[in-house]
Amino acid sequence: MKLPRFVIPTLVAVTFLGGWEWFVRVGHVNDVLVPAPSQILHWFWDSLLNGELLSATWVTMRRLIIGFAIGAALGVPLGALCARVRWIRDTLGVLALGLQTLPSVCWVPLALLWFGQEESALLFVVVMGTIWAVVIAVQESVLNVQPLYLRAAMTMGSKGWHLWLRVILPAALPGVLSGMKQGWAFAWRSLMAAEIFVVILTGFGLGSLLHAGRELLRMDQVMGVMTVVVLVGLLADLIFFSPLERWLRRSRGL
């Protein structure tokens, strides 16, 4: 008989968590350093009830979404410009390639000096995390649009904006989307790093909550927040990027 696919992963998870719980309960490790899953769950429940977790998640998500939106909104036209104009590709395109390799947390000191310990500093970091990946992805996927599509469209009288909006961008969309996904991942990492290292006076996000956990020696809080960070990342993929990619692939028969 064949087991349903979820049985083994569930068994493994239950065994792992149960073993961990038992290991802490019998006192093999110090539960201040390694809290039991039940303690983490307890923190999770408490902070959910007192609203702390939701408000921190909201603060972080708002920064991420606004920053990502700005980064993508700037990155798409800049990437298109890089693809269209040779000298912009040789300047901005090369710069984007370089800055994409720069871990975006490196922007934090600069952001703090320019914007102070405020929302705008974090937004700047998120934008910098997003924008270069998007610029590169848009540039590459526009340059890789099949010339045949362009020739066909041009003979039908398409040119200028029409050609860009109706042919080039739709044709480049799969590449643009994977660039955005990468930009989102970069932005998410850099935002977490920034929130952990810097006290931002205008809002208490997930990173700050995690940092506070360390200062208070609350490892249940630290691990609880880490779990939430993982869940947010998974959810963004599960409810946004993956369905979009699936739809794109299915509708084009890729």
Binding site: L148, R151, M154, T155, M156, G157, S158, H162, P170, G253
Partner: protein, 268 residues
């Protein structure tokens, strides 16, 4: 050239005068087309045939306005051809359908670029041409859901729908299997007789050229030149396996091989 000396034949849709095209490749400057002079009559089915490297696809690109001549001139009626335009639509070797649009939207693409039509007229026209190529029931299908032959038929509908003055076809049948191809030969001839379009087809398949063309222009390579023009006076619709057609095709093939061997002797 002196514009005053440019004489267009009154019944000519496309006029080519001393058209020369060169490419700069790794092996230096290559003359792809050398001094081509040709008239395509209004309502004529003209086929350009020749071995690979004879510049026939280059010539089609020039007619489409996707590429520019180095010397000479091309005119559509009285207008010089310099850029792509809706009056000369192209059917490519691959279907070139847009995968992000369904069948109907693909056919609508060119129609939407005609500002003088209402949306209802566009829809009516798109549906008419889809039914003309026998795909009225595939409106909602995406290109990847269609067979190669169906996709090429959609491409045909897409190039016919905006009602171009000239239809340019760049080996549109070469990637299809023999059965599908025969069906399309029938479809094309049917549409050609019904709609009285001017068509220029490029192919390396001589049998296909004789089957479809009113005139077959034989091009020879290195550099691409017009070698001979054959008038094909067989009644339509023609069948590709017709014996009379086969003997004409053999004649064209013989002419081609004699030109080729002569040019090889020239090289040796």
């Amino acid at each position: 050239m002196n514009p005053a000396s440019f004489k267009t034949h009154p019944s000519a849709a496309l006029t080519l005068r001393n058209v020369t095209k060169r490419f700069n490749g790794a092996a230096g400057c290559v003359t792809a087309l050398d001094d081509i002079t040709l008239d395509v009559k209004e309502g004529e089915f003209l086929v350009l045939v020749g071995p690979s490297g004879c510049g026939k696809s280059t010539l089609l690109s020039l007619l489409a306005g996707l590429d520019q001549v180095d010397e000479g001139a091309i005119r559509l009626g009285e207008e010089p051809v310099r850029s792509p335009g809706r009056d000369r639509l192209v059917m490519f070797q691959q279907d070139a359908l847009f995968p992000w649009l369904n069948t109907l939207e693909n056919v609508m693409f060119g129609l939407r670029l005609k500002p003088d039509l209402t949306e209802a007229e566009r829809l009516e026209s798109a549906r008419y041409y889809l039914s003309l190529v026998g795909l009225a029931d595939k409106e909602k299908a995406r290109p990847h859901e269609l067979s190669g032959g169906m996709r090429q038929r959609v491409a045909l509908a897409r190039s016919l729908a905006p009602n171009p003055r000239v239809l340019l076809m760049d080996e549109p049948f070469s990637a299809l299997d023999a059965l599908t191809r025969d069906q399309l030969y029938r479809d094309i001839q049917d549409i050609f007789t019904k709609r009285k379009k001017t068509i220029v087809l490029v192919t390396h398949n001589i049998r296909e050229a004789v089957c479809l063309g009113d005139r077959v222009v034989l091009l020879s390579p290195n550099p691409g030149r017009v070698r001979q023009i054959f008038d094909i006076n067989l009644p339509r619709p023609r069948r590709i396996n017709d014996p009379e057609l086969a003997s004409l095709a053999a004649e064209v093939t013989d002419a081609l091989s004699s030109h080729l061997s002569r040019s090889q002797e020239g090289l040796a």
